[in-house]
Homo-oligomer: 249 residues x 8
């Protein structure tokens, strides 16, 4: 693959012309017709390709997992996977299913958990999004602290859990409705806060728009935002930071 560090190494003389060209020929992905599995991602980003389960048939998912298994990969995340589709594939691949997170992990293997990421939620209804982030983080090897149902309408609940939150390397703030949790946490902690707006609520929340806009307009510095209900995206991003911080410790 030439579009990355290879260019530098080549310029620095670390790899030869012949090596460069062999790389060009051996494209690091596999074409299943309906899917092009990116095996280069692990080299490029340090993590396996993630399988986005929504909109894929059981057949397609099994095909992709089998191919990845043949490449010796473990802890393969399959996100947005309904219980129904998991039941169809359960006997055909080696996988555990986290129902509230709607995630399956194929070829599961225990990993060491490093650092600390705190997942804080506004209400009980945000739980599926929280767990999507949590399972993603844990599968990728991060230690997670869960602090749920501490929305801003009863600040003392949040303040009482502050000591579990303030020593994290990253905080994920999950909230629907007015999404104020991200701003409040942004003002309280000294580490990066990742806001996850959820579609919890009704009426003028417009399927999560209210929380999304609120988090994007956080008056507190140190807050960025992912897509509505995107627990996986927040977990993946938090993992990047947490592991980078831990690597140098």
């Amino acid at each position: 693959m030439i579009d990355l560090k290879t260019l530098e190494d080549f310029k620095a003389g670390k790899i030869s012309e012949e090596q460069l060209l062999n790389m060009l020929k051996a494209a690091p992905f596999e074409d299943l017709g309906y899917a092009n599995i990116d095996y280069h991602r692990k080299l490029r980003q340090g993590e396996n390709e993630i399988i986005y389960g929504q909109g894929k048939t059981a057949e397609q998912i099994v095909g992709i997992v089998d191919n990845m298994t043949a490449h010796g990969l473990e802890n393969i995340l399959i996100t947005r996977l309904s219980k129904q589709v998991f039941d169809e594939i359960a006997g055909r691949i080696n996988a555990v299913y986290y129902e509230s997170a709607r995630i399956a992990v194929a070829n599961p293997k225990e990993t060491k958990k490093v650092g600390k990421v705190a997942i804080v939620s506004g209400g009980t209804s945000d739980l599926p999004v929280c767990e999507e982030a949590a399972v993603t983080l844990e599968t990728l090897g991060n230690a997670v602290t869960r602090v749920y149902d501490v929305g801003v309408s009863g600040l003392h609940r949040l303040l009482a859990h502050l000591d579990e939150i303030t020593d994290a390397n990253v905080v994920i703030a999950v909230a629907g409705m007015e999404g104020a949790l991200a701003s409040v946490l942004g003002g309280l902690v000294s580490c990066p806060v990742i806001g996850v707006p959820t579609s919890v609520g009704y009426g003028a929340n417009f399927e999560g728009l209210s929380a999304l806009l609120a988090m994007l307009n956080s008056c507190a510095s140190g807050v960025t935002v992912v897509n509505i209900d995107n627990g996986f995206g927040a977990g993946y991003f938090a993992s990047m930071i947490n592991k980078a911080v831990c690597k140098n410790k």
Copy 2:
């Protein structure tokens, strides 16, 4: 005017048929051609008609004020009045101008201030909207406490002023950006909170939409909302509550 208590009084025999018909004939408003001044409002609602200054010429405003003055009215609120238009009318009517509030009060007269309304704002830039509410409230005879620039990104600033806020009869929460202040106050105080979303911010605040949606979706109970930047509306509504509470004391 028949569309009010008159019907009850008539049913109860308190007013005669003749009286009822005379009321029908004497419509309690005055038609200036470009404006129909509602002199019945004072009877119906206990307050003068308010002059909405925006989009009216100096000539029209002077005409309306003169007519109301001839009816003996005092403390006439003229809202959304630019400094420029006020300067045009300054010599022709008896009025004081509150520049940051963009309000003029014609035929001003000192009134007794009752009860307590707290106006709390997220940032310094929300000041014009706060002052619109404050001047409205004071002109209508309410005592006002101002607590400005205590947004949720530094909660300790808000907590430190809590004792000035918690004994109010009504709280007005003025905030732009993510508008979280309304929810946080809604969770802390025991009186009604009126949220005023402001257009302060940029980008995905979409001229106040972010704060508006956030306040409408407050996870705290006891919060209602007025239009973006509508300090007057919040002040008028708060005055209704504050005076009703005080009347019975």
Copy 3:
């Protein structure tokens, strides 16, 4: 809990340092893992925490009610509770269910009803939202007057009921479609009007947006707004005003 009147009392010498610190240690909420029940709300706001039923499992709701029951609480509101979930929990807790309001009240106990709140609706289809407000108000101890299906397309129907409306302490205006009822009532009565836009209608009502925007832009003063279909929120807010007005009588 330190973030409230406690600070004042401490400053005033009414509570000692030792008392203050004991308060800090005894956080007034209970952590069920999936929920943090806020028992401080009753002290802070005078009402129990409300259980938002939507998105919660029967198991979770029973757990929360059991815990609140153990604390001796009565008249616990469970809002947005579907008939189906209520049927699952009906035998396990002591509760009555108001189907059109989608509200259950656990540990119901007769309360004295004070003051008067008028609930006025535009059409028959707005009934569920009206009843959500009505049951909330009555459970919290307020007297309620219902005036339904008097939308502005036949003004004489509204005018004929005016005497039932004009002596209320608060009016709740519930309307979908163009939501004009809030403005019309705002111009007719002398007490605060709380507008509840409903999602009743089709096409360019955009799930309640038309009524929401209309009510936010009311040309009549004295109108505030809650979220689309949020009968509970309007009822809770109206209860705050009605009880404050009555307390001093």
Copy 4:
């Protein structure tokens, strides 16, 4: 022109083949390069083509008027014409300018006014839109009644003018903010009501969107809607109805 009654006449033998083909050759418009003036409209619809002034240079407008003048046309409406552009063309064409309506009428000629159209507005700030409708109607030969500043926040003002409104053939309801006037009028009168939402207001009126959606969702039957601030469109449509009704009297 073949795309109209001509076909019927041809089928009915009223016009010959030769006549039909001659019509095809003589296209009833004139191409000025920057504009194709539709001289067929008068035959087709009974009115001159209207010149939409916005976005046109003084030079272009003079060119079009000169060409139409050469065809002997009178009472040519030029809408959305700024005072500034009118001043540039004032000496070069024979025209009167209605400043509040932003309309010029070229080659003005007194016409008989038939029937009755009532223009009713919510506030003083809606006046320019009202006048655009009024000047259009009067130029096209309709009698107009103006009832301004009778918004729903003071219903008695509207009720007091009802007798001026109820005998019209068409009512035009002009209102910004929550646009409730259209629904209220729709419920009171027995003739068609044309709603004109205006951009008057601020914040969540979103440049007229609130009034537009409200009028489209009118709970009263007998209401249709034109574009925001489109006084001309309402006037033109009302003229069609008023004249059709009068023609048969």
Copy 5:
């Protein structure tokens, strides 16, 4: 009822004070608890109150119809009535059901059809909306011409039917997708055109928004618009015009 012509008549001495007051006492509507039936509408507008079926139970509809029947009313329109609810009420009231129009007519009675209204549609899928307009018009006593599936992508189909359209008193243009039909018809005919945007289409039609905005921005004069899919509204409005034009013939 005092808010109408009564005032004029009273001023003109046509009705006495006693008569006026008796009118006040006898409010011309009936309160069923869940509904306030407006019996004054027939006097005020010349048509029965319409029953909006959506969101009403079979029980409620039967109750309203029974009450109206007891008042001797015929040809009662029940709109937006699903087949399923009609089947529940079919045996209990005297009614015919128009399935494609989703309209039932209770106490049906043949009426004379006057004038002519043309209903023109863009595509086959717009048929239910067209029929809602058509059944409304016919029940109210208007003659209707149907010209369906003549959208602008094949202009010759529209031009071929022009002779059926051009002699109507009103044209109703029903179209989804880009809604161009209203503009094109507006340019071709000399009578008023009422545009009915439909939700037919997908993607960026946003449930009818594309056709709605297109029709509101028609470059042709003489076009007004009703709510998305509001065939009834267009039919009712067209009936008003058609009957007014015919009355004077």
Copy 6:
């Protein structure tokens, strides 16, 4: 039909007056009541009329196909046809069904495939939209190359397939989520790129809005866009270009 080349031919003397009038009389469409089939399209545009299946009953579709079959037409495309409706019509017409494309082709006949159109998709979930384009193109006689699941998150997968893409006459870029594929392809290839935004994704993709806006704002030149999920539209447009380019080879 007169609104096309006929006019030129008539002017050039190629057709006589008599011929022109006969054309006028024989309108080239057939009126089935619920549908007006456009048989002139083949003459005008070189392709049959397409049957848009959505919202049509099985009965209507069979009726249209039978009529077109009677005119001797082959390879009739029926788009947006659900499996369920196809099963209803399968025994009554001669047709093949492409399930993933939701397209049936009635009276199928092998055609020669010319040129080359490349269909490139971002993910596996975009497959139905891709296949709608592909089946459309192949039925209309174009050769198609499919390159699926090569989204921009793994650019090397796209670059590896570039040689299959760069020699096409047209490229169709199908992508949901952020829709970046259209811009990236627009920068890489020298032929026209047609972007098809899909509704694939969740949350702030707002049913395809994110991809739609992204493609409309492509920073690369040479990109146009069709409606969300409109694989047919892209295929039809691409066929026009591909065949025009091939015709002259």
Copy 7:
């Protein structure tokens, strides 16, 4: 540059490993700090890089043009260039300015014009967008036919110009307001139609949204769309098609 045909050539043995690597080293762009000029585009796409003038200082534009001039490039398009900025740079580079198109062409050189592209507009106010397309097309070597102000409100004007339009290789339909022109043209001609929605109009056109949505939802096949007011984009895309069609003639 490796990301294009080079890969094929390398696979086919047409270029050697050494050549491939030399290509990698010589990146075909020039970095001015504030801009990276893409000299590879001409090789890749056959046209110069276009300079997007908006948001660039006179200094930056001159710098880019000087650099491109030094590379021997001619007919460099600078789009969205205000008259004011052009005046600043006029003396420093060799350029002609097309004011209505807001385009400058640096190092202008007469080119042969091939094929035919028809630009059709709805109104006179769309002229700047039309000219942006026209100047782009002519500078890139295409013959252009202009048919302006033939909107659908007077169809005979459009039909009369049909013979100038029907023999084009591509049609560009430029329209604001309801944007119906694209659909109507899509139904009349047999070549691809590119719709350019313009921001011409007011109110509910929402700065071009109405025309944009209308064109995206065209009921006629064979229509694609570019960004609002994007005359350049339509011209560039049309040039691609027109030249591809002509190349093979």
Copy 8:
């Protein structure tokens, strides 16, 4: 201040009850009437409070800076500060102004720059937003690499700069229009990518909405987003990560 680590320390016996209470009394902020300066932020988050310049008067800014200067603070960031307001305050405080970034730094002091943050932009017009991020980062003590104008329409420009980007600890992707840069970078690098959508573009970019939605829907993992044009927010967040990673090296 009690809402932070203090609680832990108190629980751990590290601070006494007396110390805790003294903290409560000494609120770490200063109330200027119009502003409450948060001096606790430095303790809580390690950075000074930032002054948001927009909407503040010169007088207010000087007051705040003077107060902060009296507290001995250096490198005070004043963001969104227009040149005009800076000129008013330039002589009264000690500050440098970065015009393209619209940032002033009061009491500037050279700081050591650690780690590496790469700022990558799509076009030259995004420069002000990029510089806002860059000046923020450098003032907070981070080393910055600028790679501007490498949008996805010419991928080779981006690929050629990859070696400057891939060894950063964080990448900031700044782009308007379709915002594809964030997704493409997210797929290429192994560190966190912060997307900054800009309002650069026109028409259907809707002031930055297109890029915002695109970035929120990135198909590449490892991307979060800040508000439109919020270069400061991205810089501040990147600084948090970069410094956390460097601290442990």
